[in-house]
């Protein structure tokens, strides 16, 4: 498995960490926008529900509020990968 890891560290050795790492100069044009364009819609309706992520915490809330639990149980976390 030919894995190549390169480090361009000349500036780090001679002048300290590369200045570009600490400034806006290192930005790739439009990259942040391109990355954002692939992300999930953060305004999706299901995200407006205050999902608990721990069943015992949720039971405690259900007890206090005297409401039933609704449990969305998946293979993979419902708020994550599935």
């Amino acid at each position: 498995m030919p894995i190549v890891f390169c480090a361009i560290a000349v500036f780090a050795v001679v002048f300290g960490p590369p200045a570009a790492l600490y400034s806006q100069d290192g930005l790739v044009p439009n990259l942040a926008q391109q990355c954002q364009a692939v992300c999930q819609d953060t305004t999706a309706a299901w995200r407006t529900v205050a999902w608990q992520t721990d069943l015992i915490d949720a039971q405690n809330v259900a007890f206090e509020k005297q409401q039933p639990l609704f449990i969305w149980a998946m293979d993979g976390h419902p708020l994550g990968c599935t």
Binding site: F5, V28, Q34, V38, W46, W72, H77, P78, G80
Partner: protein, 300 residues
Amino acid sequence: MLDRESTFADPEILALLKERFVPVAIDQWYTRRQQDTEGDFWRQIAGQGPRNDFNKTTQGMYIAGADGKLIAFNNNRGPERLRKLLQQAADDYSHPAGTGLIERKKVDAKYKIELPEGAVVIRVSARIEGGYEATDDKWQKLFQSAVSRDNLWSTIAEQKLLAAGTVPEDLALRIARFHLVDNTRGEPSTWTVEEVRELELTIEAGKLSGTAKLETKDGKRGFDATLRGELGFDENEKLIRFNLLVEGRFWGTGQHTMKPPSGKFPLVISFTLADGTDLGDSIPPHASRGWLDGYLFPNR
């Protein structure tokens, strides 16, 4: 994935969940295995339903009382059945007498995956950019336009190496093995170390660039990708910017990711630093299930 776009896009269901239920979302892969208070409570509830073999999946939607008594189970696609179940359960519910707060007496450390101190969370999303055959099926349309979500974790030691201009081998291999995947239609198959045929990732002046060639031994699944990104750090060498875009041609399926486009198809994966404002930011990486070290040190 389909539930998000159908069941949980239904205004009546959302209103019921917000006003008359305590909604909770769990990865039952963890919960049904946990030998602790939470696992016991889950097995109590799920054990009353049709999926009561805890060596198999218990996934589904459950309505239960605070006493753990199962009221209803649903695993149907679409909102119609669930809407009725929720309405009926909300109308009929009376707080069970004698029920108390459950005290957490035991936590199963094996399944308690926590973000290492100083580590950062990077959101990872993937989307297929084309290649599907046209369809009129509404569920297939949802699959075809799906955007996946996972998290990449990067340790404090890795951030310091990145700030010094070195790509840590563990981080590069973690990205390749666990995050350069097609998880747009379900849980992905990740890559073994041997399936990472080539991986090059370099930093120059804060810019990341590289290539990856991933392929199973039988050649039935693979990904040829290019990577380009940009990094930024604060005065303590903590990542404050991480944008990485991976573009390439993917082919093949995994056990839970059937029906991809035929042949090689364009797959785009983006990585952006999480700010903690998203519901999914606190979810452990999918590949960390049950063995965080195996995720953090992917050469093992």
